[in-house]
Structure formats: structure tokens, C-alpha cells
Symmetry: C3
Subunit: 272 residues, 3 copies
């Protein structure tokens, strides 16, 4: 049997020592854990971005324990929770919506609990570093084999905060979607995937002209299977291989900048 697996996502920053301290805490409790840093570069306090990144990657990770900390409410009364997903994984983090899209991707929530058992926390806890003091040690205890019911009382699923990541809605002749993630190049990942787009406007082929209607303006773009077929500075809609979803980019440029787009902004895709 292989050693326990823990994935770890935060907004602590790639240069901070905080992620290393948390890994130290985990290895103190579960010395043989395989710890995978998913990313620590989530935009500070952006629960939606963290939720999207966890959702879009978790399907490729081994079954195991997943710790996620994007926690603007640290030090307030928001609850530390553990979710058992249908695939068998355990997700640990704040009850602010961060974990639910990933749990849904793993088949849904089988069980949720409040991580209230202080025996599984560090002996001393701070007001502002629950990643180290609560989430990491609880995760490591679970990875080591502590039973889920030990972490605290059950929570009804419908009491958990739900984030409602933007979803695509298929209408006759148009797809209503929204920006769910902006990467470091300014490429904008949109809600929905190719079947959604096909459902709205029929099959699309490389080179086909489409319109995107934004809040303030309407632009023409082309559908393309690759960046290289589009002139530099021109926009394309494409299927993003990383997440198998729709995305908007500018070849050798930033779609976010060129169109003034940010997380959550609405985009309507139509034929021209």
C-alpha cells in the first residue's frame, strides 16, 4: 500500500516560508506523507480563483487528503471543515465555498464535519495562521489514519457556504458565460466547455468568426484550435487543454487587458 497523499493549495505566496512551515507541521504528524504543493500563488484572498484552481486540477491527483487555504475570514467565526467526497478524498479548509466545486468534481459530498476537535490542532493556535495551526495538523492526522468522525460533529451539506462559480447557460444562438480564471498571460478561462458552445450555436471550426458581447462592447474573434493560426494581437476562442473548457486569448497578447476583463465578468458568445 502506498504512503498517504496530501495536496496543498494556498494564497500564501510562492516566496513565503508559510507553506514550508505547514509542510513541517504535516510531516511532524504524518512523516511518510507524500505532499504535493498544488500552488501557493492564488491571488490573495481570492476564494473564487482558489476554488477554480482546485476544481480544475483535483481530478488528476491521487485519491487522498487535500488542504486548501484561501481564508479572508480567518480569525472570525467562519468554520474549519472537512468534506468527504464520493471519490473517497478528504478536503480540508475554511467553510467559505473554496472546497465545494472540487468536491462536486469528485462526485459530490458524501459527508461533512466541523473540524472542532482541538486534540487534532496544534497545542497553541493563533488568530491569523489557521493553515499552520488547524488545517495542516487536521489533514496530517487524517492522512495518518485518524477516522473522520474524530475531527468533530457532522454538518448538514446544505449549511455549507456555496460559492456558485459562474456557470455557462446555453440559449438559442448564444452562450452566456463568464470569466472564471485569468492566468498570468491574461488568457481568460470561461465557464462551460465545447459541448455547451455546440449546444448554443452548433459546431464550430477553426477560422470561424464569432462575436463576444461584453458589458461595454462587442468584438469579433475567431474560433481556433491553436494560437499559431491567428495573427499576433488578434483574439481567439479555443478549447483550453488544461481544463477542457472554453477560453479567450489574444495571440502574443493579454485578452484580460485588451478587453478589460476580470474574474466574474460576463461574456456572451454568438455567431456574427
Amino acid at each position: 500500500v502506498s504512503s498517504p497523499f496530501i495536496s496543498f493549495l494556498t494564497d500564501f505566496g510562492e516566496r513565503a516560508t508559510a507553506p514550508a512551515v505547514c509542510r513541517g507541521v504535516m510531516w511532524n504528524i504524518c512523516p511518510d506523507a507524500r505532499i504535493l504543493d498544488l500552488t501557493h500563488a492564488v491571488t490573495a484572498f481570492s476564494i473564487r480563483e482558489g476554488a477554480f484552481l482546485l476544481w480544475s486540477t483535483i481530478g488528476y491527483l491521487p485519491v487522498g487528503v487535500h488542504v486548501a487555504v484561501v481564508d479572508p475570514g480567518v480569525g472570525t467565526s467562519r468554520s474549519p471543515i472537512v468534506i468527504r467526497a464520493e471519490r473517497g478524498d478528504l478536503l480540508i479548509g475554511p467553510d467559505n465555498g473554496l472546497l465545494r466545486p472540487a468536491a462536486a468534481r469528485l462526485g459530490g459530498i458524501r459527508e461533512a464535519r466541523l473540524a472542532a476537535n482541538r486534540a487534532l490542532w496544534l497545542p497553541e493556535t493563533s488568530n491569523n495562521f489557521h493553515g499552520r495551526d488547524i488545517f495542516s495538523p487536521v489533514a496530517a492526522h487524517l492522512a495518518r489514519g485518524v477516522a473522520l468522525q474524530e475531527v468533530g460533529p457532522p454538518l448538514a451539506t446544505d449549511t455549507l457556504i456555496d460559492l456558485e462559480l459562474p456557470a455557462a447557460s446555453v440559449r438559442e444562438g448564444r452562450l452566456n458565460t463568464a470569466v472564471v480564471f485569468v492566468d498570468r498571460f491574461g488568457n481568460c478561462r470561461l465557464a462551460g466547455d465545447l459541448p455547451d458552445l455546440n449546444g448554443a450555436i452548433g459546431p464550430v471550426t477553426t477560422g470561424q468568426r464569432l462575436a463576444i458581447q461584453l458589458a461595454a462592447a462587442r468584438h469579433e474573434v475567431v474560433w481556433s484550435s491553436t494560437f499559431g493560426l491567428v495573427d499576433p494581437g488578434k483574439a481567439l476562442l479555443y478549447r483550453d487543454g488544461d481544463t477542457a473548457g472554453l477560453a479567450l486569448a489574444v495571440n502574443q497578447g493579454s485578452a484580460a487587458e485588451q478587453f478589460g476583463l476580470a474574474l466574474g465578468d460576463l461574456v456572451r458568445i454568438e455567431t456574427v
Copy 2:
């Protein structure tokens, strides 16, 4: 029994391949080591910053071997050393003060040795990459079980370079302190902790106005348990949860910039 633990801190930079090369060297010698990269983003050649980061994190790490390389004197006659701390850990790095605060945090120095035994170095050594050629292989041999006396002759503790990180001094009505770390947001960690401040000016409560006297100017700040209670652009003194020490910040701004503060600068905290 769990596999050997090695932590690793340098100023090589997060984008460099140098840390990976060192991990390769360690795994060649000690294939089952659990290696934890603490950070490689220490400001280049800043021994004080490296010493602070090692000191502030090591208490959360498993007992094991700790390699730290911030080494402006590489290629000169400064010595490679190994320190056995009272907790049982082994600290390896240059004799320039980098290791001593961490050793003190682990209960003090039980024993120190010069890492002079070339049989534990790489067969070929360079003038400028002792992290790869000396510190990493010595650390890995120790992690693998080589006895400490094998690394070289003993050193008297009082001959080791001492860095003297700034310390807080409690005076009647004021705390004399100094900046010990500036993080990427410009938050300034100060020497000393809340009991020190209480000893100087009595109990403090959120919202209480205090004065900070810098070299050039005097400013009013407030004590606050959280950033959110302070207006954007306004300064606060608070207890930093990461290190359990005092810190100075500007809500949604940079205290380092606003007050012109850098590592080592003196700060006096008083009542208004």
C-alpha cells in the same frame, strides 16, 4: 522509524536550478531523505534575513538536519560548520552567524564541529558553490547516519561568529526595538513580542493609539488585533501570528515604504 528529514534554506533564488542540483546531490547520498525546501528567496547575501527566517520557522519542523546557505564569504576562509542543537537537530552552513539564532531556538548549542572532512564533500569542489559541493553532501551523509564526529574537529562555541539579531529592550514607558524582517508586502516584523510591549507600556487594547519614534520622525499608530479594523493607508501595530512577535503594517499598503524602514532600523514604541 521514519525516513531522515532535511530542511533547506538559501538565497539562490526561486527560479534558479541551484536548489534542485543540491537536492540531487543529497538524494544521491541519502536516497530516502525527506527534503523540505524552506525558502530559496532570501534576499541575496542577507545573512540577517536568512537567520531570521530560519529562527522563525525551525520550531515547526521535524527534528532532523537543516542546511542553510546565505554565504557572501564563499571562497574566502570562512568555515563550513555543523552545530548539534539541544533538541537533537543538526544545523549545517557557513560560520557567519546564519545558524546561531535557530540553534538558540532549539535549546542552544550542544556541540559544534568544523566540516573539514573532505571524504564527506563532493570529490571536486568549486570556489563559489559550496552549497552543492560541501553543505549538501555533508548534510546528506549526516542524515544517512554518519556520526557527527566524522565531519571534522570540534569547535569551541564561543569561537563561532555571532550575528546578534536585534533584540527588544524594555524601558519604563517605552520599548526599544528594531526591524528584523520586511516581508514582500512591506510589513515590518519587529524584535520582541507582546509580553515585552506589556512590560514597557502596560496592557494594550485594539484601537489604542501609540507612537513610534523612528530615526527621523515620530508617527502615531494604533494597536489592533486585525488589519480590517484600521482604515486603508493607516498604520497598525499588531502581534504577528506567524512568528508570535510584534509587527508594524499599513493596511493595504507598505509600512516599509511609508515609513522608510529597512532591516535593522531602530523603532521606539511609546504611549502617545
Copy 3:
């Protein structure tokens, strides 16, 4: 016997989740692999930079499996390949020249194969993320013990794309070389090493004045064993300890900027 070793180099970017997804894929297939991230900060699409970084570090890594992905041709007909080097290592990546310098450093190519066996890929593959869908799973299967002949048909070595990293050529009185890597400080690593330079212009000593002839201009520099012996803003030629090769730098400055140098630019070194 120690657990399998996999090194991993890409141009995915340090902040991306793509490297973590690939590690997840590898651990799903080979749960006990020791995975070493060499770097993910290779300049996007720079095969030459990736090839240089792999070449310059691989000698320090354990014998094992090495995955490298800098792949501007992803989605085209370029082939996924596996190379068995004489040292015993397996190198996996696109057939675009990325792997050959490293294979040469490990004694040369013993055998090469096309990674065509889809049973070793992920069940679903994308057009643009072969790192996740092809290279990582093939690497993990090989690390786990799958025989090399299982990955696909043999390839004749002379059919593999060769990159031809710049090499130094020794002439009477001058060394013809070129920039092979520019680091984040602007230091320029040059092709060739100290014996090459000695072969061209005889022994050099610290403080000796030399000339570098660039495409557009001629400059005087000094040979120096350390940066500290050269005034700030002044250029030096030196032996880079990381790679044991020649390099050009400006003390406390950027040689790349000061001399307008980039990857591949020719440099002639002469006596003044």
C-alpha cells in the same frame, strides 16, 4: 533498493498549477517515485535554454528518469521520444533537440524510442498539454519498471533532431564562443571552459586585461576569480562554478544589458 527517481523540467512557469498536475499524474502511476522539480522557469518555448539547463545540471542528479517539456511544437507532428543514455538514465520529452545535450553529458545515446504506445498515455489526450497526457505518464510507467521496448518502436539516433548548442572553437590567439545562457542577473554563460581559453590565449590570471569582440563593438574586460575584485559596473570574465564553464558578468550589474547580449550571440575573446 531506493525508490525510483524522476527529475522534471518545463517552461510552464513557477506560478502555474501545470507542474503540480503532472506530478499528480506521475504519483498516480508510480506512487513511490521521488520527484525532483529541476525548474519550471525556463523561458517560454526556449528549447536552447531548457537544453542548456538540463545539460548543466543532470550530472549532479541520481540515475533515473528525466522528463523535460519545452515544446513549441506541441500539437504538431513532432514526436514524443525516450532516450536511454549510456549512464543508464531515461530521458523523455519532445523530439526537438531538448534532450540531446543532456544525453551526451551522460555518455551519449544508447537507444532511442518513439513513445507511441497509447496504453502508457493518459486515456484521454489533449492537443496542447502533452506534459500531462503523454510525457508524465510514460515517465512514471518507466520509473515503475515498464521495459523501454514497451514504449514504442526504436528510432535511429541520427534521425533525432539535433539542436547544436553553440560550442567554443579555439583559434590561435582567440577563443570564438557564444552566449549559451543568460541568468536572472544578466550574467552570460559562454560556450567553452577554462582549458579552451587556455588553449587559445594561454594561462590567465586574476586582474589580466582581455578583450571581448562582439558583433558591434569591442570592449575591455578583466579576468577575475571573484566578483569582489572588480569595481561595481565593471565587466569580468570568470569560471562559473555552477557549470564549470566560462562566463561574462558585470559586478553589481547586468552584462546582458550593458553589452546588449542575448542567447546565441557570438563573443570572441582575445588578449588586449
